[in-house]
């Protein structure tokens, strides 16, 4: 069984590296730090490499030990990828994964490419952190208050604060248990989902002012340019949640945010009840989950807007 193999490989490994996906969110960082702290507890030699991530997560145990980059020619005995659907999403750090003697992939994306020697993937789990509860227990790790805090940070991020339909019986049971061991769930909630930076507030104002309701109010569209982000002095992560503004308006089925990147637009899509936005994004070479997906569109704003809206229209009832 895969969990036995994972346990054995961790036991055998000298140097271990933990990697996660680019533009890491709370589940990527939470699961990476939970695993990092767990492996430390098992007295393993471990590096966690994340080039850039939102400051929001600095309160998590071990955050100050995250490496921004590894040694150029470092070879690891074992590489563990967390919350990453594809080895390509490990970005500039795939080399550590590809050069490692043994590789493990723990994830909850339905689109996972099963790219490691051992793949422990459960698309029914609402967060990679929720899968880790089982994995860590199997490894004999004591889930401390600190590790529990990392796990709940990921769970809160990926369930939108216990909101999305993937939130399960086990999610609530585990959270109840975390409260009993003293984890301050509401503080984590506030830090992870609630506190908006001044930059995010400024971008929210712009996104709301520009928001258009189209197709009889079934589509909400808005956008943010590089210029906007510069003007409000936006930092990494300040655009998080902008796509949700449109999704929450009554009657809206699909919310679209186009955010300008270097020479192209990143599309973020959310749906409420029936549109599979992962299918929509796949038409642009992207993907994701049924109700939350993304893609890149190499076109000017107006054309990108028209193209993505036309694609969404095909899926509307």
């Amino acid at each position: 069984m895969t969990l036995d193999n994972i346990k054995q490989e961790i036991k055998n490994a000298g140097k271990i590296v933990i990697l996660t996906h680019e533009s890491p969110d709370g589940d990527a960082i939470g699961s990476s730090l939970a695993m990092y702290n767990a492996l430390k507890q098992l007295n393993k030699q471990v590096d966690l490499i994340i080039p850039e991530y939102p400051e929001t997560f600095n309160f998590l145990e071990g955050a100050e030990e995250i490496k921004k980059q590894g040694q150029e020619d470092e070879k690891y005995d074992l590489a563990i990828a967390l919350d990453a659907a594809d080895v390509k999403r490990l970005n500039g750090f795939a080399k550590y994964f590809e050069n490692a003697k043994v590789t493990i992939n723990i994830d909850h994306h339905g689109s996972n490419k099963m790219f490691a020697d051992y793949n422990f993937v459960n698309p029914d789990a609402p967060a990679c952190c929720q899968i880790l509860i089982l994995v860590l227990e199997y490894l004999g790790v004591d889930i401390t208050k600190e590790i529990g805090t990392c796990l709940i940070a990921g769970i809160i991020t990926d369930t939108g604060g216990f909101k999305y339909s993937g939130t399960s019986k086990e999610t609530f049971e585990f959270t109840s248990w975390l409260l009993s061991i003293g984890v301050n769930v509401s503080e984590v909630y506030r830090k992870v989902l609630e506190v908006r930076t001044k930059g995010n507030f400024a971008l929210t104002k712009l996104a709301i002012d520009r928001l258009e309701l189209l197709e009889d109010g079934k589509i909400a569209f808005t956008y943010i340019t590089k210029e906007d982000e510069k003007n409000v002095n936006a930092k990494n992560g300040d655009h998080d949640g902008l796509v949700d503004i449109g999704r929450t308006i009554e009657g809206v089925e699909v919310s679209i945010l186009l955010r300008e990147a270097d020479g192209f637009f990143k599309g973020s899509l959310r749906s409420n009840e029936y549109v599979n936005v992962s299918d929509v994004c796949m038409m642009f070479g992207g993907g994701g989950h049924v109700r939350a997906a993304g893609c890149s569109i190499h076109l000017p704003l107006e054309e990108a807007k028209e193209k993505i809206i036309n694609e969404v229209k095909k899926h509307l009832k």
Copy 2:
């Protein structure tokens, strides 16, 4: 014990009336409907009177049976007040309470006036609906999917979606159990907290555009006039959540919303970490919870604004 008395009085009563506080929110409506459905299950003759409430809650079992007003000279054997801190807050309907032979008060406000024959008040409970779990079990009620849906609607409303610090181990345990009996928690979440009406969206836009950060960013202030609500064709409940916009900005401790009523302003205050906004509101004859409170200020906008900000300032570190 109070619960025994409550059980006995319900058993003895012929005609029962359920009442809740004015401007009812999800916990007021959820607890009232849960009790209403429970008493129906026990084959009691029961009226639920709520003069006006947001349409959002029409999906709850029994909502179509809510009476907007009672018979002028109706006398009840038993009146049950839910989620109401004060008999005065029962508004024009206090008469049914005062004229009833026996009265029961079930609530979770710390400021509850213990105004009934039997008072079952637990200020540690994050929602009146959470208290009802225990009460209904004690009454021998089968908590069906429909009753569970009413209860979770109240819990989600008053915990801000499992967010506020009062959210307890029991809250998560009960929610986990509700999932196991088939309650669609994420759908209730979306209906209760997430779907914003077009009127709410328009008011949000205004509140954000007007939002000021004061006292080194520790106070967020915004306002909404009657004229605004008329312009955007706002309905009952469309202003819900506006005060939370300011609360979520980094660095903000107290968020203030002034909303114009008939000849005065209703102040809504929220705090994040240390200011007791119930104390602030008490200075204006209002009150509430430590982190969420309200009051009425009979002054023009600019004066009301100055006065409430000055009061908040006294509490800032």
